[in-house]
């Protein structure tokens, strides 16, 4: 059974995929208040991801969650580069680099500046 990874699209990410076929694949969430791309992950690849990141897990929707921000960032980079959602192999090729960045993330993530 495949699993999924949701990639949230903020304004900056939306601009990067403007005019590409990816625009048609954008899903609206919560009355359009959130926009997201959904990447399908075959089971053997999702096992590889779960093994690589000890906090990662499958949620009740079948989505792989609690992934490092570095992973999500790399995933979007590959999507924007390939203009396709079929990029999971490319991301897995970058696993050592992502794991290295994720290590730093387990200590500190800068908080957002809100009032």
């Amino acid at each position: 059974m495949p699993h999924y990874i949701g990639v949230i699209l903020d304004e900056n990410r939306l601009a990067q995929i403007k005019g590409t076929p990816l625009e048609e694949k954008i899903q609206d969430l919560f009355g359009g208040q959130l926009k997201m791309l959904v990447v399908e992950v075959p089971e053997d690849k999702s096992e590889q991801i779960l093994k690589a990141f000890d906090r990662a897990r499958i949620d009740s929707r079948g989505f792989i969650e609690d992934l490092p921000v570095a992973f999500k960032r790399a995933l979007f980079e590959e999507i924007a580069k390939a203009k396709s959602l079929d990029v999971i192999d490319k991301v897995l090729e970058r696993l050592p680099e992502i794991q290295e960045a994720a290590k730093k993330e387990s200590e500190y993530i800068p908080p957002p500046e809100i009032e």
């Binding site: 919560f30 959130l34 989505f63 969650e65 609690d66 999500k72």
Partner: protein, 456 residues
Amino acid sequence: MAKLKMPPPHGGELVNRVIEKKEYAESLAAGAIEFDLKPTLDPNGVPIRHVYREIVSVCYGFFSPVEGSMTQNDLEGVLKERRLENGWVFPYPILLDVSEEDLKSLDVKEGDRLLLKLKGQPFAIMDVEEVYKIDPKDVATRTFGTPENNPEVVRQPFDEKHPGWMIYRCMNPYVIAGKWTIINPPKFREPYDRFWLPPAECRAVIKHVKKWRTCIAHQTRNVPHTGHEMLMKCAAYTGDIEPCHGILVNAIIGAKRKGDYPNEAILEGHEAVNKYGYIKPSRHMVTFTLWDMRYGNPIESLLHGIIRQNMGCTHHMFGRDHAAVGEYYDKYATQILWSEGIPSFGFEAPPNEVEKGLKIIPQNMAEFWYCPVCGEIAYSENCGHVKEKQKFSGSFLRGMVAEGVMPPKVVMRPEVYKAIVKWWKVFGYPFVNNKYLENLNKELEVDLAPMEIPKA
């Protein structure tokens, strides 16, 4: 239907083993053998449990009728059929475990009195009833069950990835059994002090201050999203001749799995729900229980029922994947327990229908999701737009938070998000990580006043 009233404490009477009078407390501890309480560490040295939390919860009556570290008979009863030796339902082993080295240096035997110290100060005494050996792995596995022995609800064997199993797995091999008595009542630090309401006081507040005749408990280990809020609001429509008068949020506070929210954000996040009027404060109250969460789904739900009955609640809401992590249990294991029982865990009938069982009434709830067709948060048993549904997911929200995206207010109230960010700024991290656990283990939730114990 008859009007409901507050149920009695589990076991008949609330345990109260806290000595407030200092001189009397000092005299009880005089000459006792000193022992510094220690955390349970995982194989990487990360603290995953501190027995002091269990001592507090026992002595203030949250876990009534348990009065201390369990004897071997109690432990066997709990592991075999979730019953204490006296027959009352209780789900988890409560144990003061010590290493062989500590046991040798203590040289304790039945009849001795121990002085348990915390943060360098006298904290509690215990009268030793028994010292015995356990196999921590066996205790861990029998606590949570196996697919072979508990096929009704256990879906995969428990292992190192399960934080509750790891707590028991990492315990020391010797148990000192006996009743605990706190002799130096802990002082809760901010923000815990605002939410500290032990069972006797909670019952009094519910009865005399809030004047709630009926009250439904909400278990939480999470910062609330609007799905949780709707669960609380809708579950509270149960009651008797009218909806429940009150909603008691009771957060489980202690060491948690990495990736959960910090305790402080959980408490203040829930507080924001009533402070900013999403549920009126006259109808909603936030409290906590000290316990290093075991994530035991149906097993944990029994403890939750006991705690909240002891706090004075008439009802308890149980959702999907209650107190669960991973896919070890059936998603509806807790609801199976409370609707038909789980014979292999000792329940031929639901826990509120067995002898010496609970009196709290379960309210099993299905799920809430966002429905773009209805344009609102909908209850799964009402909403027919199954294809269009957008499910709430705590981990999806955590991902959004980590990426620095403010969740839309239809999913999380902005004031709740601000509580997360407030503590994110304090800890440099929005979730529990090793650093948070190490700091929590050092500081704990409490301070203790200096106390001089006369030598024998």
